[in-house]
């Protein structure tokens, strides 16, 4: 609070205005400000001080007050008599008024100041409720939002920013046509979710035909072994993504409505034109024997 000024004059003044009823204090202030104006003009007159009531004299020690002003004035009279007025004498506004003695033309602006000073007695709501410094989210909300984004991507089956490209030596592959930032969803490994027994049966079936590629994605989640079979030709891109032991994608399991899905996320920033690849993770000797490219 700005009442606690060191200057005795300020303290007196603010006390004076606080104790009095608002309108009365307004009048008193006007008196004081007037006397101050006189003071500026003729600083040498001092005898009149004796005729001023004590309380008034204390409030501004060096002032000169015309004795006929000690009786309370009607607001209109004050206005007519006072072309120059200082802002309310409380605290910090004191010095500015002394310095410039600004002209106040209407009752209204004085009332406004009064209101401002009154309002400062009110506490601020920020004293009770702390400001959240930023719109930072907690980790749990971040994760929740991420999960939501992923679910949305899976449900909408988006495959934007990708194109199938035919490579001379290895056949089909998928390239990015837009930039993917690290950690962003790129594509889902879409296929048919089957259990291990079914997977074994299908493996046997597929093994009979040499032309069948390997599109079985085995993974484990929540202590359950699953397989996504993407052998069937679909328009989806996830199944066409090639293998690299240090690819630019990383697979993740996302649970959606109780069933697991495999999504491929960008491990690093991927630029347009770059082929997207991930590690198939098959290191078994048998596989390497038939598919030597798994080692690269």
């Amino acid at each position: 609070m700005f009442y606690h000024s060191d200057s005795p004059a300020n303290n007196e003044a603010s006390e004076n205005s606080q104790n009095a009823a608002p309108i009365a204090s307004l009048l008193k202030r006007r008196n004081m400000s007037r006397s101050k104006t006189v003071n500026l003009v003729s600083p040498s007159i001092t005898e009149d001080q004796k005729q001023i009531p004590k309380e008034k004299r204390r409030s501004t020690p060096h002032k000169i007050q015309l004795c006929n002003n000690t009786a309370p004035l009607s607001p209109s009279r004050v206005l007519s008599q006072l072309p120059i007025s200082s802002p309310p004498t409380e605290g910090k506004q004191e010095h500015s008024s002394a310095a410039c003695g600004e002209t106040v033309s209407s009752e209204n602006s004085c009332m406004k100041r009064e209101q401002v000073s009154k309002m400062s007695e009110n506490r601020k709501i920020t004293e009770f409720f702390s400001v959240r410094r930023s719109v930072r989210k907690t980790k749990t909300t971040m994760l929740k939002e991420r999960q939501q984004d992923l679910e949305e991507a899976i449900l909408s089956q988006t495959e934007s920013g990708l194109a199938v490209y035919y490579f001379e030596r290895k056949g089909r592959g998928v390239v990015a046509t837009q930039t993917f930032r690290k950690g962003e969803f790129v594509v889902e490994y879409a296929g048919e979710l089957i259990d291990m027994n079914e997977a074994k049966l299908r493996e046997m079936k597929y093994a009979q035909d040499e032309n069948t590629g390997c599109y079985m994605y085995y993974f484990q989640t929540k202590n359950m072994q699953y397989c996504i079979d993407a052998t069937a030709e679909t328009g989806r891109f996830g199944r066409l993504v090639n293998h690299s032991r240090n690819g630019n994608l990383v697979p993740r399991v996302v649970m959606l409505k109780g069933s697991p899905h495999i999504v491929l996320m960008a491990k690093e920033d991927i630029l347009p034109g770059g082929e997207i690849m991930y590690d198939y993770g098959d290191r078994s000797r048998e596989s390497l024997q038939y598919h030597p490219w798994l080692a690269s």
Binding site: A21, K118, M119, E121, N122, R123, I125, F129, V131, R132
Partner: protein, 260 residues
């Protein structure tokens, strides 16, 4: 994409009337749970918190969270163009810098739409802690509005004193003093006319009348109002908005003379 349809467009009109005296502009935060607004008045003495749940709307869709900063005077101009029985639809694209208000007349033969530019507001969000209030007063909202209006004539601040017997609003000023006492009365016939007090301990607090009067602009939203008080924490004035949400006003107490 954001889209919210409200059969009673008058609700939004009333909400706007309830906040526009305190706030010049505000950000409407839309998420899939609904529309929220939190803002302080210019002097940072009071806080408005508005919540409209998504299930209260007739149709609600919000794919991505969006914050729509609006000039409330402009919004008031738009809402003035709607009749009370119009059906209102608010629409905004993701990352859009405008919001569209569509008003359909009840018999569907007039459709008007208004597009408003959005503002980027630098807003501060306050964390409001859960508080067990010492006194919770429920009373008719019109009665509360009346008391605030009457007492504002006498002084700038109102002392609210709450005991088990009742709640007392008092003020004093140049012309004298004023006291209004309300006794607890459980009116069984009309629940919204009853005054009920849940009290843990008696509370006496001092508030600026001006703000209370601004809060009572929400009176048309609800027949009852709930005041929650505790020593040395902001007063909460809550109006329910049908079964769609609520508007809460928080008001910091005035500094007591003894403390000063």
């Amino acid at each position: 994409m954001f889209e919210a349809r409200l059969v009673q467009s008058s609700i939004l009109k009333k909400v706007l009337d309830a906040i526009k005296e305190l706030l010049n502009e505000a950000t409407f935060d839309c998420s899939d749970t609904g529309i929220q607004l939190q803002a302080m008045d210019n002097s940072h003495v009071s806080l408005v918190s508005l919540n409209l749940r998504s299930d209260g709307f007739d149709k609600y869709r919000c794919d991505r969270n969006i914050s729509m900063g609006m000039n409330l005077a402009s919004l008031a101009k738009i809402m003035k163009c709607a009749s009370n029985d119009d059906v209102l639809t608010m629409k905004a694209q993701d990352n859009a810098d405008t919001v569209t208000f569509v008003f359909e007349s009840a018999n569907q033969d007039k459709v008007s739409d208004y597009e408003m530019k959005l503002m980027n507001l630098d807003q501060e969000h306050l964390g409001i802690p859960d508080t067990d209030y010492a006194c919770i007063v429920k009373m008719p909202s019109a009665e509360f509005a009346r008391i605030c209006r009457d007492l504002a004539q006498f002084g700038e601040s109102v002392v609210i004193a709450c005991t088990k017997e009742g709640v007392k609003f008092s003020t004093s000023g140049d012309i004298g003093s004023a006291n209004v006492k309300l006794a607890q009365n459980a009116n069984v016939d009309k629940e919204e006319e009853s005054v009920t007090i849940e009290m843990q301990e008696p509370v006496t607090l001092n508030f600026a009348c001006r703000y209370l009067n601004s809060f009572t602009k929400a009176t048309p939203l609800s027949p009852t109002v709930q005041l929650s008080l505790s020593h040395d924490v902001p007063l909460v004035v809550e109006y329910k908005i049908g079964d769609i949400g609520f508007i809460r006003y928080y008001l910091a107490p005035k500094i007591d003379d003894e403390e000063n």
